[in-house]
Amino acid sequence: MKSVKKHSQVLRLAITSLTFLFLFTFKLSAQGDVKAGKSLFNANCAACHKLDKKLVGPALGKISERRELEWLKAWIKDNNALRASGDADAIAIYEEYKGSPMTAFPQLSDADIVNIVSYLDADPVKKAGAPVIAAANEVEEETSTEWISYLVLLIIVGIVVWIFMKSDNTFLKIVATIFLLFNLAYFGFTALLSIGVDEGYQPVQPIAFSHRIHAGDNKIDCQYCHSSAKNSKSSGIPSVNVCMNCHKNISEVAEETATAEHSKAFYDGEIQKLYKAAGWNSETLEYTGETEPIKWTRIHNLPDFAYYNHAQHVTVGGIKCQKCHGPVEEMEELYQYSPLTMGWCIDCHKETKVKMEGNGYYKNIHEDLSKKYGVDKVTVAQMGGKECGKCHY
């Protein structure tokens, strides 16, 4: 038997340390830039993948525990070719997602993919929730002034009663009667004028939909959801599929969305109500088919004898929604901003000048009208916007 000459102590040490060094450097090279990986992931992958949840594609957090890096590189660059080469894993995942193919990313380099994978492996950094501190003191002050006005009212009533019951002074009685008559006129007319005027009407809706979050913070255009305003009489209550265009992805609100009034849990609960109405299972990401209508309470409602058309005002007139509906983008809960009375309509028709440029079809009639009224710009009222039959027929 041949005896193998052992390495010397020094050499052995050198070899071991070199091996370690190699291992270590290898580990270093596989360790990509987490930050670069995050921005790459957000730009390319996040449309279909989340870290902790299934979306269009599978959850990808800690993916290197489940897949080899080389496999991932091949899959990401051209998953079609990988499937064609007969890779069992690739075909299995394709089948699992019912044959919806992933977009190929040939533009990503090996280093890019390493960066993305190291972002996926890094622990997701939780943002420290910044609790919103808002002062809720203002509400209390209002009630105190209300008490004062009740007290004053009570004293006045007391004096009047005393005058009629106990006093023999005729002059005082006449003054008190006149005072009562004035009050009757004031309160009576206020009561009569408020009949049928729902300014400030703010019913409780089945889902606490916040226009502040959607139209204000996220700057979604009014017509994205109220899409029939451009073509039809009614501005349209969005059907639930429009909600689900975004809320398939957004199943909970961000920490920053919560306010002193409503917590994050409250808003998340409201999104769950939407899922129930849409019949959306947020675990399996599938529609169950069990839908139910959301019974919104209508706020803006003209009496049946008045005709109003949204398309005419929004598309033709180019009027901003806020002109009539007020600062909706600031409203947590929607209320009726305008009185919607006839006088209010007519006032606007009298003031609004018609945009006549670039409207060749009506060029002649516009010129005739401005000559007739001796003005540069004709108002809506001058064009017939004050005629009874325009809105009542």
Binding site: N42, A43, N44, C45, A46, A47, C48, H49, L55, V56, G99, S100, P101, F164, T177, L180, L181, N183, L184, F187, G188, T190, A191, S194, I195, G196, V197, D198, G200, Y201, Q202, P203, V204, D217, N218, K219, I220, D221, Q223, Y224, S227, S234, G236, I237, S239, N241, V242, M244, N245, C246, K248, N249, A254, P293, W296, R298, P303, D304, F305, Y335
Partner: protein, 184 residues
Amino acid sequence: MKNNIFKIVALLVVSVVLTSCSDKTKRQVQFMPDMYVSVAYEPYGENTAFANGMDSQSPVEGTIARGQVPYDYPNTNEGYEAAKKELKSPLSVHEVNSARGKSLYGIYCVVCHGKKGDGQGDLVKREKFLGIPNYKDRDITEGSIYHVIMHGRNLMGSHASQLTGEERWQIVKHVQTLRNDLLK
């Protein structure tokens, strides 16, 4: 005299009560409600005549709304590829309205895809939606853009219910313009 005073006071009390009880969640009293409330069915109302209890009904299957062209490419990968290859815009040069395309794009697409089509809309910047592609990174044709607006793709949902066929084509034209600008 005393009788009159009582009448005045009674009226006063009634009107004060009427003005003071203003519950914001309730509508005001209506004068002649039979002239205010529609006898005809209003949009989104309840209706016992239909099985699902709603006024608004989906179009009868197999019918086509006036002015609309049916869309036959199915919501599948094959449908997407076919539309990408074959589907062409029916709008003639004169019917393309770039201002309208731009304003519609501004309403329906900008929040995610961004003004320039670079995938940097407000929702992306606020990290509500991520991974919106830049148009220049995607191999898209007018047919595939129309198909995606119609049926949606991946996380983007269908926008067919919010837009008419003609409006969709105007948007397609605008997306192509943006893409060409980005490719420059």
